[in-house]
């Protein structure tokens, strides 16, 4: 996989899973590196358990939305999101999905899965599927690219953002860092 200078990533799932939080961590990590960033989020009614999608564009972009077939990657917090939002991914792009079963997509052959629910259960933090998936995505993609950061940021940079954002909330911060690490260590 070649790493593009500008990156466009879709993060999707269901309202309440923490799609916005993952988007925000990635966006903060971009700013910390001095990169330009623009995202688009779902608010309002859909946040009540409906399908939620974020668009994240890092680099030289004006529009907050990603066009279908243009995204470098999709992080799917629900397996069903792959069918709903897979069409945004370009043929050479990647999909990382929360699924106990292997998945296929018409968009790309690079589909990686993790049973994030099991991982979250093991660390006794069942609501942390979003961070488990983020940790997994960062290391799994680096592995797929032969060690380099496939995303614009590294696990360490995301950890730094989490530590800063939750500096006043020690319990939450430690739980979040644990979930990221658990995801990161789940790479095959």
């Amino acid at each position: 996989m070649k790493i593009p200078e500008n990156q466009q990533i879709i993060i999707s799932g269901v309202g309440g899973q923490g799609v916005l939080f993952v988007t925000r961590l990635l966006a903060e990590a971009a700013i910390a590196q001095g990169l330009s960033v623009i995202t688009s989020e779902t608010h309002g009614m859909a946040q009540r358990g409906g399908t939620v999608v974020s668009h994240l564009k890092v680099g030289d972009f004006a529009s907050p939305l990603i066009r279908p077939g243009q995204a470098d990657g999709l992080i799917a917090l629900k397996a069903e999101s792959v069918a709903v939002h897979g069409g945004y991914v370009r043929p050479a792009g990647w999909i990382v999905a929360n699924s106990g079963e292997p998945l296929n997509s018409q968009a790309t052959t690079a589909v990686m899965t993790l049973d994030a629910e099991s991982v979250a259960r093991q660390i006794n933090n069942r609501r942390a599927i979003n961070l488990v998936m983020l940790g997994y995505s960062l290391t799994r993609l680096a592995q797929a690219c032969g060690g380099a950061n496939a995303l614009f940021c590294s696990l360490a940079e995301i950890q730094a953002v989490v530590a800063k954002r939750l500096a006043d909330k020690k319990v939450l911060r430690d739980a979040a860092l644990e979930a990221l690490a658990a995801g990161a260590q789940s790479t095959p």
Partner: protein, 606 residues
Amino acid sequence: MAKKALMLGNEAIARGLVENGCVLATAYPGTPASEILGALAAFKTDAGVDMHVQWAVNEKVALEIAYAGSMSGLRTAVSMKQVGLNVASDPLMSAAYMGTKGGFIIVSADDPGPHSSQTEQDSRLMAMMAKIPVLDPRSPVQAKELIAVAYEVSETYRIPVMLRPTTRVCHARQDVEIKALRPCKPVVEFKKDPARWAATPKFRFILHQELEGKLAQIAAEPRTAPRLLNPETRAFKAVVTSGVAAAHAFEILQAAQLGDDLALFQVLQPYPLHQAFISELLTNYATVLVIEETMGVIEMQLADRTRVKGKLTNDVPRVGELLPETIEGLMCGFAGRRADACTVPAVPGRRPTLCAGCPHRASFFAIKKAAPKAIYTSDIGCYTLGLNLGAVDTVLCMGAAISQAAGFYHAHKNEARPPKIIATIGDSTFFHAGVPALIDAVVQKVRFVLVILDNRTTAMTGNQPTPATGVGVSGESLQAIDMEALVKGCGVTSVRTGDPYDLEEFIGLVKAAVADSQVKGPAVVIARHACLLDRRQAPPSHPARTITVTDTCDGCGFCIKHFECPALVMHGEGDQAFVAIDPVLCSGCGVCIAVCPKKSIKEIRG
């Protein structure tokens, strides 16, 4: 390097207001505008600025408060969503005539799609109707920049100025530059001028003439003039855009290398459209394509109907959001190129639902038990999702649950067996627009039951306080309205309050109210239980219980169909079907224990 922060569009708007000397700001929450006021309160506190920031009971009241501040010479602002502007349209139309003194900005956020709204209406058209200028930002960064411009224009011409962001601006996040606050010492002075501030129709005519004069000047205002986004182009075809469509179009122009074929303009001020720009377009370009959301406001000001394409010529969709893939197709087609834009196939996603443990779900279940065949009028809020439970038949606009209940009553009252009518409305919505409707129903002796779903917050938009909360946007202590006293003050004699978590008891309350309503006219039940998402509220009255489904569950699906709690999950099929609790989602409310007809849902006592 300038200090930058990741900001939501709404936060960027708030930051712009603080940096530019706004000292009085009001709002009523509504997606996608809700986060503006909260962010403003936070910036105000951080900067230690002396500013009055408040949630108002509705948008009309909000606009009037902020407008009076401007009449006294202060920079003020009011924010709302597009349908909120309908509510505030009465003072808006009049304020345009009377003009302003301090800078006055009306932020009205539109929701093309619509994502979380009843309509896709275009606030720019409302600005045109009111005859005030409107600015249309394409990004959070530009929204913040345009706040400064809006205040200058407002003060130069003494006119209210509208900022019209859309969902894709409000709910975009971008790295936004943080600047120092504009040094200013506001002078507050209300100068009496009855010929203006209390103008009679004769003077209104004069003010209207004055307004037309202002608009003619604003249509030549350099600070808000349209921008050519690719100045190097020598194309004879022009694409005219505004708002986020300009951002999409600019990116597509570069990606598809259309810069030689198309001149791309961004209109900052869709109304009044700059006269020189209209002439330039119609003189220098062979054809013009206008891409804007959601109505053809710019397009209709380009009087030449032979060379201008857009919504009026059915070249641009009139309905729905203009997604970048749609704009790519439009631009490539206009440039005479083949578009290879693809679309995401429409796969049904998940429908939204009330949260697990939401007290509204219990209320709706009780209402259907108490009056199974009633007409259920409802209103705007999370509880619109009572649709999924078959307990919501109508949703029109804020407050209409009550007036529609009255209308149904009068329509059906002469039938042999008129239907029962149960209206549901949230606490915030009741304060916003329900009170006058309830007074009317009392006067007209309307036989219906009103269930006020009192979760002590404005939940859908992010848990803003209501007039009954007694707390302001910055957490300051305020006077709290007593809901029961208010209902009684409206003239209702049958008033009951209960907690829907106590399901059996609550069903009894609704039944008693139905009986009362047939004799006394309006009967009100206040269903009081705090929203589970509102972290500010007192610890729950009902401690969380551990719930399980026993082996006696035969998978009949009654709880799934009639209670629709996301924590109740059906497993298996046919004879093997059974329901189990999803422990991640379950809030432990235990209401489902009383819902299961087979008594298969039980509490595990530790």
